[in-house]
Symmetry: D2
Subunit: 141 residues, 4 copies
């Protein structure tokens, strides 16, 4: 499973085809693309936080969703638009109000469906704040 | 299973204890509280939409999450803060850029866990745009 | 959404094409086929029970899986073999060692994917013992 | 996260307290217990297979469920009975009719809930046949 896009190419694609992820400023950054994998970082703005100082559930969902999308995109290229069909997320520990990383592993990249695992953590990767699995439907190419 | 809060009481509680759901204006409104049930409506702002004119996945997730939270809150009262531990969502049809309703049914309200089903639709309740099940952990009371 | 097979036709199809569900005797019975719906009953044998007298988790999973499969089969006909791609199940209450019903509702019947909700109960449908959602991949027809 | 039981101790506990997993002979074997992890192997009997020669979905579910249970048991000891509250499984590739391994990683071991990830594979761990996440409720100790 080899990626067909670089981090820069993915960033440019998101810029032109998916500008709404930058509505709140440059909070989402692709940090890694590797065979079968992709990672992104969320630098939360005030809107992603909750009183008491934690990153909100919807912000973690959005991070998992966009990172899994980027993992698929980087491996099939920008020809087709994959859409999320299922996302299951477990919230494990209250995140602190700081940068949060999502590391995605592609479990399956089929003709019609891709299944991705997402580990969401902050400083210590062995202490996940959330974990998700997502399925994307890939249109006929 | 009888609710212990009215729609007005829930709205006032959200206002003071959960103001961040109004960051984008009054887009979330509780529309029904009944035994074992609660519904909310999302009137999407520009930020909840995607190019091509559809309501975004994270917006649907946020709607399911807040409605399930409200369903639990309305039945146990504002004494304890339930937190989402798991949310599984299936995206079924592309929503149109318009008001979207989430109707939640409490499947179980235990001492420690509540499990809620969420049907998300627009005009026609028989054509769901998304469907979710969520688990909330209820702290000791 | 109209079914294209009757209960008898589904039973005959299972008999010839899926005989392994009868390995433990006639424990699975189709009890309803209706537009967008199908129900089955499990009459548990000793192997489906657990000490203390409850129906096992794997038995409830198998009941949800076969009923969702039958719901799809009854609506698309025996031409194509749908396969489960995802099943999410919440265990809500300990079942008693008795007949258990699974009532499935088809949430979406697309060209490539079907999504089904499954409510599993015993005597009282308002007290579910488990709840599941399942996705089936439908091969090109 | 340190295990408090050895493989032998887990096997003896299953023998006396959970004999029904041996109803079909000795098909489930614990193969690894390590900090935060446990693995089991299913040597499928005829009842776990499907025509065409594949391991059935319910057999893979049962393998994920028992392995996740063993992972929790090995880390909290046989004092309390954890029960599955949620299991989400993705079926990725058709398994061959042969030995199948489930490798579980504990993502969280809290006072009330444990969340476990399960990777199910045959010869090649990089080609999963299924992937699951499960939540167990841990009774007060």
């Amino acid at each position: 499973m080899q990626p067909v896009m670089t981090i820069d190419e993915v960033h440019r694609f998101l810029e032109t085809d998916f500008p709404q992820i930058h509505t709140d400023g440059r909070v989402f950054t692709v940090t890694e693309i590797a065979p079968g994998r992709a990672s992104m970082r969320l630098d939360p703005s005030k809107r992603h936080l909750r009183p008491g100082g934690t990153v909100s559930g919807p912000a973690l969902f959005a991070l998992a969703d966009v990172t899994a999308y980027v993992a698929v995109l980087a491996h099939i290229g920008p020809v087709a638009l994959a859409v999320t069909t299922n996302l299951n997320i477990n919230f494990l520990r209250l995140p602190k109000p700081r940068s949060t990383t999502c590391a995605c592993t592609i479990l399956k990249l089929g003709k019609r469906l891709a299944v991705i695992e997402a580990a969401i953590f902050q400083e210590d990767r062995s202490e996940l704040v959330a974990h998700a699995t997502a399925t994307y439907s890939i249109p006929p190419r």
